[in-house]
Symmetry: D2
């Protein structure tokens, strides 16, 4: 039942990799938002397969069709239905996976849970289903833009190559200038080289993405279960292959003393601000007006183009070597997905926060 995300700005998704179409419904989008279709398509293009030598070779146009909820270029407050038709599927590539469970994939768990699964292209477990998130994220970004809030993500680690500094040392407007989406040019080159090597070996590699939200007003998030970090964490941990998330100084804070971890308040020209921001812009679960930043860990893609031992549906030992066209590293294409989920979450929280006073 949880193909819906959000409380007031709500995305419901559907679709499998090799079905007719991927799509969704955006419910609760405020009325009167200017809809820039080119921007929405552009966000999808950032996620598109085949966009560079370090992604899968699969070529898909991934053209979004908006079916409702927009009238004369503006949202009407009614639900926005959309689809992206599937094409360029080679279902036969997956024939050998019908009765075999790919290691560290969703094949076994789906089969156990539902007693049936669409094995073609991973079915519903395919990262292709994140298309819907990018569409809804693009709409959310358009609304956030009217509110002066921006969301930017970038690749901060691939395998053993990690950025040395935090986001404040980089010019985030340069993220799109290289195919790995990393604002450190030297590191970007090393990452691209590593991904190419891994690809050549039929292997894959993991990494981290950092996400920065600027211009977020104080007051978003709620005291108890709906803390802003919990809402954002839930959004990120629902992305395929994510194994961890941390906010502000994150896991490093486990090693600190309070006197080094606390962010001291100061009055900066009449605005209450903090001198440091180890909290990552969230205190007591609520945004404090500083930059919100978080880091998300992705495991390596499970599908390998080399032989792996496994079992089939009857429990017999066998081996499996993927055919088809697969990403050696999801990080570059996951950047817009992280941004999309962050944008959806922040807009949802913004709307929730409008209701705390009459």
């Amino acid at each position: 039942m949880r193909n819906t995300f959000g409380h007031l700005f709500r995305l419901t998704t559907f679709g499998e990799s090799h079905g007719e179409a991927i799509g969704g419904v955006i419910d609760g989008c405020p009325a009167g938002i200017d809809i820039d279709l080119d921007f929405i398509q552009g966000e999808l293009d950032r996620r598109r397969p085949g966009q560079s030598p370090i992604t899968t070779d699969r070529k898909e146009a991934d053209k979004v069709e908006i079916l409702s909820g927009v009238f004369e270029g503006k949202t009407t407050g009614c639900p926005i239905g959309f689809i992206v038709k599937n094409a360029n599927q080679r279902s036969a590539d997956y024939d050998n996976m019908r009765g075999v469970f790919r290691p560290s994939h969703a094949d076994y768990t789906y089969n156990y849970k539902y007693g049936i699964r669409d094995h073609r292209g991973g079915g519903r477990s395919s990262a292709r289903v994140t298309i819907s998130r990018c569409v809804a994220g693009a709409v959310a970004k358009l609304a956030l833009r009217q509110l002066g809030i921006s969301v930017t993500a970038y690749t901060s680690q691939v395998g053993d190559i990690a950025l040395d500094n935090d986001y404040r040392k980089y010019d985030l407007s340069t993220v799109e200038s290289n195919i790995v989406r990393c604002p450190d040019t030297a590191k970007a080159e090393a990452m691209i080289r590593l991904i190419s090597e891994v690809k050549a070996a039929g292997d894959t590699v993991g990494g981290t993405i950092t996400c920065v939200i600027r211009g977020c007003p104080p007051g978003l998030g709620e005291p108890e279960f709906g803390k802003l970090n919990a809402a954002l964490g839930y959004a990120m941990l629902g992305i395929n292959a994510v194994k961890g998330v941390e906010f502000g100084a994150g896991f490093a804070m486990a090693g600190m003393h309070g006197s080094e971890a606390n962010d001291v308040f100061a009055n900066e020209n009449g605005n209450i601000t903090t001198l440091t921001n180890r909290s990552g812009g969230i205190q007591g679960g609520i945004s404090n007006g500083q930059d919100i930043y978080l880091r998300i860990a992705f495991k390596p893609v499970a599908t390998l183009l080399k032989e792996q031992p496994t079992v089939d549906i009857e429990g017999n030992d066998t081996t499996l070597k993927a055919r088809g066209r697969h990403d050696p590293c999801v990080l570059p294409r996951a950047v817009p997905i992280v941004e999309a989920m962050a944008a959806i979450t922040i807009l949802d929280e913004y709307l929730l926060n409008k209701t705390v006073k009459i």
Copy 2:
């Protein structure tokens, strides 16, 4: 609006540190569960302040009163209301915080969001509100026990003292044998020493907790937004002071290749199992029958018994030194809270999973 947690097994909480009572409502608890009141009180006692020299000196009985939903020792399927009365409050300890914002605390953000706040003892932002989670968690554990599922957490890091091994190397039945709740006796002693030193200095320290869920059947969790790791992550990130969460090999997987990260399937006496478990018992967002394990990062307690610079509600520079009785390190008392949230989540997912077939 998010003082309710869960979809089918639902906890709604209320209460502030210095109000009349902390309490909650457990809705959707299955009928016919044997309620062991001593066990529930025992779980609260594990969270209780004043339980050892390394927690706050505050003494509170924290006696739970069940007001409904239990008849002749069994749950009836009707909501379970409960309260824990507040006592031993020294509200005057907080008089100096009425108009001043404690660094890295929720004072500023609550005040901004609601335009009003109960400053006494942190009000709703106090960790005291987690009492309700322990009560509901205890009820969930009683239900899970009937299903053969166990949830165990332990302190795996305090400041710079971290366990060297993963959970499989420890006897988790020993966790309660020391006051820091760590299954490595030598490390436990070092942690206790560190906390005592920090306390003496008026400072505080962070750490991590590891949580292990055993006996969880395959099939819990859902493909899209309701992945089991997302549900558990949301639960953990809603606990006060948590700054990060990771599942299985977690952030370390960002540095791996697929060929080292994948968990290969095998047939073990007719059961499909995995030879390794870097996935942490979750694949494609759904439990695979292996142990589920996760690690949670806690920042140091923000309240210091030493002077810190800050601003008051009018934005004037000032300083603040906490009075009152505070924990130098939340980890030992947070162990049962982590278990509670994990137990609630797993039971909720168990119930959800009953509805995927007719």
Copy 3:
């Protein structure tokens, strides 16, 4: 799981007739509402048993205790927990019902559903559980008062005695001037006489309540499933003994032609209004600024003080005659409950409507 009502202003309830206490949690109440405790207790007093000769003789103080969420006389935005302790229970009155199913009561269905039930006083199916709704309704009324919205209900039919006119012909400020809560004095006397006769005969009688909402701004409610009449209808049909609900001209519109049923628009001093109001203030599921009015049908109380044939839990034929103190007619005491559910619904819709624009 549905002991919670509402989307943003949310009431979660607990409690059984003969348990420790009835209570609830109000979550999402806007911050800064002035809380008048006397008003809240006054609303409970209107629902209290033993208030007049035509209600049950049971005497209960029904004193509400607010446990959280209010600070220095104002709501804080944090959840408002409350309890009303049970007293004056005579559980022994119900011993003969332990293994017998009262006709047209919830005994059989609860027993079948849960396999267990608290038979004392009807347990969770007792109308006593509506106490929680009156408390939350009173809080909602206080918020609506600040918005200029009023909710008034009255008894419009008891048995075969029904008011001849619609609400516009009566002075609704007189509703509390008689014990049956009917603004037509002559009819009120006849209703009281009828209830007294029915009570003397050990029988019971049904009736209808009319509810009028004034000052509601246009725009509340939503196009599709969340139509304002659907939200209000859901609220009313959840009240014990309700068998029907109609809005505006209601069932009578089934017999009309469009040309007699339509409400024509007019410009009244710059405000768009309607010349008639058969729609009952709701068009396309959304309030149009006119009075909202609805009528709710209550069946007679099922508990009779005369012998009825029935079966016991093993299916054996038997007879049952209620002991104890019961209402011959719920209508007078149901008036504040109807108002409460209407007030909660309207406030919830008001908050939802704040989020349709940024």
Copy 4:
């Protein structure tokens, strides 16, 4: 935000009358249900415009396309996305409504609420949006069929022509044998005549639909806010033009004494049954295994082919006469919609009820 209906079996809808397509997502459909596409299309055909001389002359194919969630003829447990493309739109018919508010229509309220509206064909307020409900209802019926539960509705009143008897006197298998969908042949002819006369006069007429659910097991519905009648009532009151709903003996029970209204239990060959069924199969909000029946009141269609006075968007007096092709009476086409909403609700409750025990 309420374009989603249901808790576990959930329908989310989108689409406007003159947009690209109407569609929706069915989430939480159990896995393994046999999908009979002809049956689903057949249900849509029952709702289709132009199906008989007493409906609108508009001709639309209304072909449903299932885009996901079905694999090799069975549901997979993944969301079922579907669309029905719009065609045969004559948007120009609505040009005169762009700035004018049709009486008793949603034009004014939508415009006030959102500040923008798609005026073409009523936009989101068009009854055309109920297409999505019929598709989801058909899927629900297929699941209910596997459970032995049937849902049948019929026209029980048109204008002043009402059936004399309750549903037990009719052979419900004959409902589809006439174009007004009424099981009383003589009354059906009179209804058809009345609708034809009304149509000729450019007017419209209201009516009622009765819905009967057979084979529903005891135990569906919940004690407090989620009473089965509340759930069904919410479903029905969300259908366009519905002004009232009643269960079992309904409003007539307001005039009864308890001794005439109660349904006495009896043991019928080992099954506990009731000798009468004035409760309509629901007691204490929970199904008792008897037939569930309810009656729904529809107001006359608001769109008239005769001139009506009204105001325009600036508040100026004007008149309006609809162009286009409109239904003189929605009852015949609303029968499948009522069935659909009942089927969705019952399946949702069936799934919820699976979770009350472990």
